[in-house]
């Protein structure tokens, strides 16, 4: 096996992913180092969500070829829960409603599963509530969400805030954001950016999908990748995102072939 450098968080080599027997990603290579923020841009249907779903282990995504290493471990050998407990967090584009499961109970369960995985003592109810307060008190996040059923009847904005609570509590190493800004107002986007920026301590990495320049302005990416027809066709820095925002994808030679 090729040795991966110590500061590499995620390394993807020659990845081919099919969904329903259709190739969505092909010959995709990507390396994310500790502390880096990467943004993934591209037109609709180019495979952006498929990439983050593949990293998190979504059952839709069938890896046909290539490999993914996370913190020098073979990610493709791990199930979804193991990947999460190893430190991968995917913020869902549409967080699922789970009636009948209390949000606070869910969060405590998830947190304690991770603690047990890391050979730490699980937190009791009191310690958990203290931990929640400690982690969320700096941000405008309504703790009343904890008393409700998991995402059940939440507005779009509340669902995204709930994703942020999970993100803060689980404290992952790699944060995957799949359009976390969609459907959010300007203030809520600021909260998202504050949470992400507050978590970036030089050891955590981010891979985010966004169409919205406001979020990129607030969380400045180190790298911007353009995905087209399942491949990364261009990589640049934040100025690439600005260029696309100003002139569109056609200006960098990408045509929308769906029209």
């Amino acid at each position: 096996m090729k040795t991966i450098k110590e500061d590499t968080m995620l390394k993807i080599n020659n990845l081919q992913v099919n969904i329903n027997n259709k190739t969505i990603l092909e010959n995709l290579n990507l390396e994310i180092k500790k502390g880096e923020v990467h943004a993934l841009m591209g037109m609709n249907g180019t495979g952006k969500s498929t990439l983050v779903k593949t990293i998190s282990g979504h059952y839709d995504c069938q890896v046909m070829q290539g490999n993914i290493h996370f913190k020098n471990k073979d990610l493709l050998q791990m199930d979804v829960a193991q990947r999460a407990n190893e430190g991968i967090f995917m913020s869902f584009q549409n967080p699922i409603e789970v009636p009948g499961i209390n949000n606070s109970y869910f969060l405590k369960t998830a947190l304690n599963e991770k603690r047990v995985y890391e050979n730490k003592e699980p937190l009791d109810a009191m310690a958990f509530l203290k931990y929640v307060k400690e982690k969320t008190s700096h941000y405008e996040i309504d703790q009343k969400l904890l008393q409700r059923e998991l995402n059940n009847g939440f507005s779009g904005g509340e669902k995204k805030r709930n994703e942020l609570i999970q993100l803060l509590l689980l404290n992952p190493d790699l944060i995957l954001l799949d359009e976390i800004d969609s459907g959010l107002d300007v203030d809520a986007i600021k909260t998202v950016a504050n949470v992400i920026n507050g978590m970036l301590d030089g050891n955590k990495s981010v891979l985010m999908i966004t169409h919205y320049d406001r979020l990129l302005e607030l969380i400045k990416p180190d790298f911007v990748h353009i995905l087209h027809q399942g491949k990364i066709v261009k990589t640049g820095d934040y100025t690439l995102a600005l260029e696309i925002d100003e002139k569109g994808f056609e200006a960098i030679g990408i045509k929308d072939e769906t029209h």
Binding site: V80, A81, A84, I101, Y117
Partner: protein
């Protein structure tokens, strides 16, 4: 002795739609070594009387043909805590029968739990429950069925509700045996509320059939039938609900729901909701859903580090939780949760 040999007991005809796909023959032809009437455990508050009438309901007549003594539990003052009646099979290959009339007098509130259990083999319970609620009376009733495999049970409920009475029934079917439940309610008076909640949690080769008939004959009454099934292994559940709304039953509310989660390829659900409506001035609906656990929900929980097995348990608990939370009386709810070891949040 065999049930089929007892005078007056008949097997349903093959073209009897109510009993289609319900396998009563094995029970009818099983040769029991003993037969006995089992007494209700709340001695002192129960009187007995002799019954002479018979019913059109085939399964109702079985207990009556075996033993025409009916116990009567008459509740004249409101009870703060639930009255608990426990029945247990104590012998193998024994046919136990019990007929109980529960009377809740005018304006009285009562809560009752009946628990039936057995660790014996090849035995059967045949139970009839006649429940009479006086005007403005209110009964919240729980049945917990925990009979082990190779045992059987026929459990019949016949309800009589006076004006503005409320009956909430909660049935928890947790056993592994063969069970037929029959619920009959002819609502002849106004402003009657009737709720039947059932949670059918089966595994191995357990079999539970719920046959529910509700007839609305008067105005402004409500019936709500709501059964949930989770079926593992080779278990089978049958849901047959018929609600009839006659011409005089204006402004009736009649609802039927059956939701099923199949946890094995070999588990079976037969769900037949049925409404017969003769008027326009009403609210009525019926619905059934059958499926497996929601894959998206499972993935969401797993994506937060919860193992697949634990995530499945959490989702099943969530599916079932509504049936525990539907118990209104807090004493009753606590008793049921404690008895069944329900500890999730």
């Amino acid at each position: 002795m065999k049930l089929i040999d007892v005078l007056g007991i008949t097997l349903p005809e093959k073209n009897n739609e109510t009993f289609r796909k319900i396998e009563l023959e094995t029970l009818y032809h099983f040769d029991f070594k003993h037969q006995q009437a089992i007494a209700s455990s709340a001695a002192g508050v129960i009187q007995t009387q002799t019954l002479f009438s018979s019913s059109k309901n085939i399964v109702w007549n079985i207990a009556q043909q075996l033993n025409n003594t009916q116990e009567v539990l008459s509740i004249n003052k409101s009870l703060k805590e639930p009255l608990v009646l426990i029945y247990e099979m104590k012998e193998d290959e024994t046919l136990y029968s019990n007929q109980l009339k529960i009377e809740v007098k005018k304006g009285i509130k009562a809560t009752i739990i009946e628990i039936v259990k057995s660790q014996k083999k090849e035995s059967a319970f045949i139970f009839n429950r006649e429940i009479s609620l006086g005007e403005n009376a209110s009964l919240e009733y729980v049945k917990i069925q925990e009979i082990e495999e190779n045992n059987s049970m026929i459990y019949n409920v016949m309800l009589h509700q006076k004006e503005a009475s409320s009956c909430q029934m909660h049935a928890f079917e947790k056993g592994e045996g063969f069970v037929i439940n029959s619920y009959d309610n002819a609502i002849d008076e106004k402003n009657v509320h009737y709720t039947l909640n059932g949670l059918v949690t089966l595994q191995k080769e357990a079999y539970v059939a719920n046959i529910i008939q509700t007839i609305h004959n008067n105005e402004h009454s409500m019936s709500h039938i709501n059964i949930k099934h989770t079926l593992k292994d080779k278990s089978t559940a049958i849901f047959k609900a018929k609600s009839i709304v006659n011409e005089n039953a204006l402004y009736t509310k009649a609802f039927q729901n059956a939701h099923t989660i199949l946890l094995s390829n070999n588990a079976t659900i037969i769900a037949q909701p049925h409404l017969e409506i003769s008027i326009d001035e009403l609210e009525a609906s019926h619905g059934t859903t059958t499926g497996t656990l929601d894959e998206e929900q499972l993935l969401y929980l797993q994506a937060r580090g919860i193992s697949k097995e634990f995530a499945q348990t959490l989702l099943l608990n969530a599916f079932e939780a509504q049936m525990y939370e539907a118990i209104e009386n807090e004493y009753l709810k606590e008793y049921v949760k404690t008895h069944l070891g329900v500890s999730y949040v």
